[in-house]
Symmetry: D2
């Protein structure tokens, strides 16, 4: 991948894009890797094979280090009363109904009994959920974000992660989008303003070093 810094001028390197780095206690947030998004044949899905593979490597490492990890899903009532203006903007969200297979985590990453799947209704994993309360309880200070989509729920979660005070790390090859332009543009924004855009290998090295 070309450096996102090539995309735009006027984001001087001394003014934007500083490195935040890992803290003492990272958690892994696996965003919306549910069947509706991982099956390319659905209205919301695309080919995210590589995102699943890289996320699986991270999940295995976080499990081995016994560090906190959370999955998110997004699902709505049959009435869609909880889908607000969101469903008017994205009619394809109709596919995401509570209790259906579409909103279950992709079996490649099957959560264990002690790994929580957080139900959200909107883009950010923080919005309308108790994620922050769990993170504070667990004394987490760093979030590693993976999943889909870079321009949607990953970006929104990255902004909220920074806002809530967390060091925010996005491994570029463990997040994906249904189109490359938005993927790259949002990695640029995240790296310039909200979190460190790195590789999955970088994260794995950091985890090993910190043990």
């Amino acid at each position: 991948m070309d450096s996102p810094h090539d995309i735009a001028a006027n984001y001087d390197e001394e003014d934007f894009g500083g490195d935040i780095g890992f803290g003492d206690r990272p958690a892994l947030i696996i965003i919306d890797l549910i069947n509706a998004f991982t099956d390319p044949d659905t209205r919301l899905g695309s080919d995210v094979t590589s995102v699943l593979d890289q996320t699986e490597r991270l999940l295995t490492a976080f499990r081995e280090h016994d560090l906190p990890r959370y999955f998110t899903t997004v699902a709505f009532e049959n009435s869609y009363g909880d889908a607000g203006q969101f469903i008017k903007k994205i009619p394809a969200l109709q596919e995401l109904r509570l209790g259906t297979e579409a909103v279950e985590i992709d079996s490649q990453l099957a959560p264990t009994d002690d790994e929580r799947v957080i139900l959200k209704k909107y883009a950010s994993a923080f919005f309308g959920t108790d994620l922050q309360a769990e993170l504070t309880t667990n004394r987490v200070d760093t979030l590693v974000l993976t999943g889909v989509t870079t321009s949607g729920c990953v970006r929104a979660t990255a902004v909220d992660s920074l806002q809530h005070g967390y060091r925010t790390i996005v491994p570029a090859n463990a997040v994906g989008d249904r189109a490359d332009g938005p993927h790259r543009a949002n990695l640029f924004d995240i790296d310039a303003k909200y979190g460190d855009v790195v590789t999955t290998d970088d994260v794995l090295v950091s985890l090993s070093d910190s043990v």
Copy 2:
């Protein structure tokens, strides 16, 4: 401006980018049009003459219709203790100190005594502020967002506006960025997923029609 829909494939028109439209009671949110951002000679600034002009047209109209309007600014303590990880990521935020001219609203848009300037510390106008409480008190159902930057505080506020349940309207020529790539990419994302990207003229017509 070319349609943002040209940027990426796989965002099918029937699935993404539906129109939300105006509700019954809009408010105008003027984001970070403070001297530090409107003076091109500063570390954070760029030429946003046209954004100021279009925002002024909207401000005049909202005043005439006696509809709610809010300004935001972003400013930090001398200790920068309130700047969290944000200032590590964007060192240029050091310019934004409480009580300095840099964080005052640009004089072209000087707020009147009954127009509130909301102090925020992060990207979204909702985060760490009581904006939602004011909007509920005033029974607002639609937010029109202007200001800077498209890829920063405007985008973050648009996402939060949708998430909080508001119809979200972004007049493309009343928001700006320090580079065109991020400006256009974020308008694409907003239009696809969070709000209606329109023109300032469109908003003015809607206001007139609703009277």
Copy 3:
């Protein structure tokens, strides 16, 4: 019931306890009337027969007027990882496990298919939930709170309701507690600072008048 105003001096009537009144669009929030709380034989339960009866009257009226109504429940993962410090403070919360009968709404108030049960983890119906987003989507400006317990989730929700900008109404005989002292003390605080403490009949009259 004696007026809560008898309990304490130094809360002058001209300074505290003003009337807020109904707005244009009320919603009913039925708090934690789940089996674990309505069965007096459980660790968390007490006799709330009268609270159920009064809430049922309100639920019927809100259904007839086709006004929004929401139920809340509180339930935890088997790991209790989502119970934070709360479960250390209230060990009896162990009874509230996801998927069990204990956390289902009492059958006297059985929700219909289009009535949503909001899952919360803490005291306030707003905390860690998307309740505010639904209320904004539905343009609600007034919340009528019923359920249990007055000194716990009702009080916490009343404070948050006021904070989020809603007119807050608490019918005293439709909320209950496992002891009378905390019930009365919290109604005093709510009436002095956060919402109007009225009777179920008062609410029913207001609903009829507004039609």
Copy 4:
């Protein structure tokens, strides 16, 4: 002070009121000890000499241990547009105007340059503020709450502190109210459900032990 546990039956000791205890990194939150509340001759004030004295002891200790400490104030625009429904309920809030001496911290506790005064509009120190973001940045896991009033902003902050995942400690003699009934009733509720009600001496011992 009699044990709050005498107030009500049906709050069995094995089910409610467990001890949470101190964590690794406490912060001190000094709530609303502003002139309007500490001057008994004002509409909102009462004699809180002892609360100021006990808080001063804690402030000195937190300064000596170089642990985070925050003050809160509550103040409104001249328009009171930011006072929502709150000012209808508590007309005496009119006294709290931005920029006036009434909303400055009592001089007995004068904040130093690096101690932040957080501006809030409502009861909880968390609501509409960025307090949580600062606490996460500083890796705080325990909040010690002092100030006024026990039945108002202290109680609301205690509930939110627990909800956000913090160990919550309330030294009973460092919080106060304008009447004894609400003071005692709210300490009972806090101790039963949200935080550990202790003495100022208890907190000072814990701070010494942890060094």
